[in-house]
Symmetry: C2
Subunit: 350 residues, 2 copies
DNA sequence: TTGTACGCGTTATCAG
DNA sequence: CTGATAACGCGTACAA
């Protein structure tokens, strides 16, 4: 049973291929409703499906977008993929994925593969600090950065409102009466998101006149435990706030992302610290275990659906814009999608 | 700057398009090394990239495979996607993903979308119990089932050795001296994997003459906590094993997958049970938190890389087989990829 | 309102 | 060893 083509439909319906093509593209602006019905019927009967390769060749458009994820093991990435997948499907568009595993080399390769595969545009959660590969692609096809930015090139970017989320997390801890604050980060501050959150944290600590600092958690759990213990020791109280000397100091920790949080929990297990008694805790990223640990962990949750919508919106308008006759690449835009704070037991002193 | 085609290369190299095409397909079995060099040079200089749409149209092959995942939020799925993605890339093949979110309706839609998109074959982690959509697709394109089977149709299937893993998990608990065993499952036993594991568990419990049963954990944490407490009460000791009456009973729990395990942990938090003192625990699926909870949770880890390799191997041989002149669809095969037990503190009585 | 004819970029066949 | 040529299936001017 050979493939059934537009020609077959035409024959069986007693019309020309052109008419069938018009029908398929809903260009029945002026088409006798009679032939329309005949065509519809034949298509129905034969189960005809247009050949995408032929269409792509002709239109130079595949209705396919590429998505490059830096770290699929991060639930945030999974959630994004799910949303993107769903929303793209609604627009009749397929998603070609690539996983860079936080390796800029394979990100570059993925970019090339996707371009070769002929995707109409690319959404990339980059892990690279080299703008060159992205620049090369972005010269030809629409590219939207997701979550992470990269220096040296101005591309459309969709992120959460990380600064505001840091502020709100600090609010939570401050209301609970913390006397010291630490933002827990990773050793290698590669991602722009982490950098942005850290900068804001330090900014706010200063602005609010609080004690505390950014703390790069040691990869070794034992060392990390030592770091944490140090943070919990009674502080040397500055003379001008002597009023607080009578109180036991309360330290508030904010994990800059879910993986750091997990390492923190692991290290915490090596100490005799009890949360939320000896310390309060909050974290970014809503992982499943956040319900469970410490009776619930206060979390800054990103709006994955909103991020997906924004990224796709951005990408598709660029694609459409570009495919117009003489269309030009639209100017890059930066979009912030607000996240949500979920207050839980870990940031309420008991 | 218009797209550079094979024709342009031909002109600039002073040869015919046919020769360039031969060069591209490495068919230089008989080609003057001189023209070969010239072509290579022109291609290099112009940065020519073959147009995939045209090639697909001509060859009726896209070098693209579809992957349908039932639940991307399950880390097992993420890991599989990462592996598949990587290994497919090595074979110069792109992956089009679809997420069914455990909804058989959208799985069917995804199947159709992927077929329309023209993928050469499909790997599906099915969530459906209706073989009809799969049957329709499998009549045309190679389909490999991943992890989950479906009744009413015989397709190639790649899974872990679930029965053996259940056995080994039981071994762990038995060696630790458990006197009662419970397999924790979800209420709706939809997946073939869960069914398979549960069946094996009951089989082994009988075969080994152990006490215990499968326990469908209530979705409500409070109710689940009650269920668990019941399991921990001193047992009514059968008369013929009266020797054990003096000992406190030790219950061993096996979570049938990572999500059930998490619900179990949550419920456990509502009781005053301490693991691994009052009960021992083991689980399927290596989640990040397994390092952390209970000082480490004994885990049956699936070999995601091996599963990916097997699935792709299966799919590609079918694709090749089928694309041969007069090639027929190869017979379905069932492949079991062995997983690994990671013993941790949660299954060692202290 | 509909049909004709061409071309999108590639590969396979066949002839030289 | 290489070149001309005809498809692959579709969309779209242009003609009718």
């Amino acid at each position: 049973m050979a493939r059934v083509t537009i020609k077959d439909i035409a024959e069986q319906a007693g019309v020309s291929p052109a008419t069938v093509s018009r029908f398929l593209n809903k260009r029945y602006g002026s088409m006798s409703s009679e032939t329309r019905d005949r065509i519809a019927q034949v298509i129905e009967r034969t189960g005809y499906k247009p050949n995408n390769a032929a269409r792509s060749l002709r239109l130079d458009r595949t209705n396919t977008i590429g998505v490059i994820l830096a770290d699929i093991r991060n639930p945030f990435s999974s959630a994004m993929l799910e949303e993107l997948s769903q929303q793209a499907a609604q627009r009749g568009c397929s998603i070609v994925t690539a996983i860079s595993s936080n390796n800029s080399q394979s990100e570059a390769e993925a970019l090339e593969r996707l371009v070769d595969a002929g995707v109409d545009g690319i959404i990339v959660n980059t892990c690279s600090n080299d703008p060159a590969p992205l620049r090369a692609v972005a010269a030809t096809k629409p590219v939207v950065l997701l979550d992470r930015d990269v220096e040296g090139i101005d591309l459309s970017l969709v992120t959460s409102n990380n600064a505001a989320l840091i502020d709100e997390l600090l609010d939570q801890l401050q209301q609970a009466g913390c006397t010291r604050y630490h933002l827990l980060t990773e050793y290698d501050e590669t991602s722009s998101v982490r950098r942005g959150r850290a900068d804001r944290f330090e900014h706010e600590i200063r602005r609010r006149g609080l004690a505390g600092c950014v703390l790069a958690l040691d990869p070794d759990a034992g060392h990390a435990a030592a770091q944490i213990s140090t943070c919990l020791e009674p502080a040397e109280i500055p003379s001008h706030s002597a009023a607080a000397t009578s109180c036991k100091p309360i330290t508030g920790f904010i994990a800059i992302n879910g993986l750091v949080f997990l390492r923190f929990v692991e290290a915490l297990g090596l100490t005799d610290t009890v949360v939320p008694r000896d310390a309060l805790v909050a974290t970014f990223d809503e992982y499943p275990w956040n319900h469970v640990l410490f009776g619930g962990v206060t979390t800054a949750m990103q709006d994955t659906a909103g991020l997906a919508t924004a990224a796709l919106e951005q990408l598709f308008t660029a694609i459409d814009q570009l495919s117009r006759r003489g269309g030009f690449m639209p100017a890059p835009q930066h979009i912030e999608v607000p996240g949500t704070i979920i207050p839980r037991a870990s940031s309420r002193l008991r």
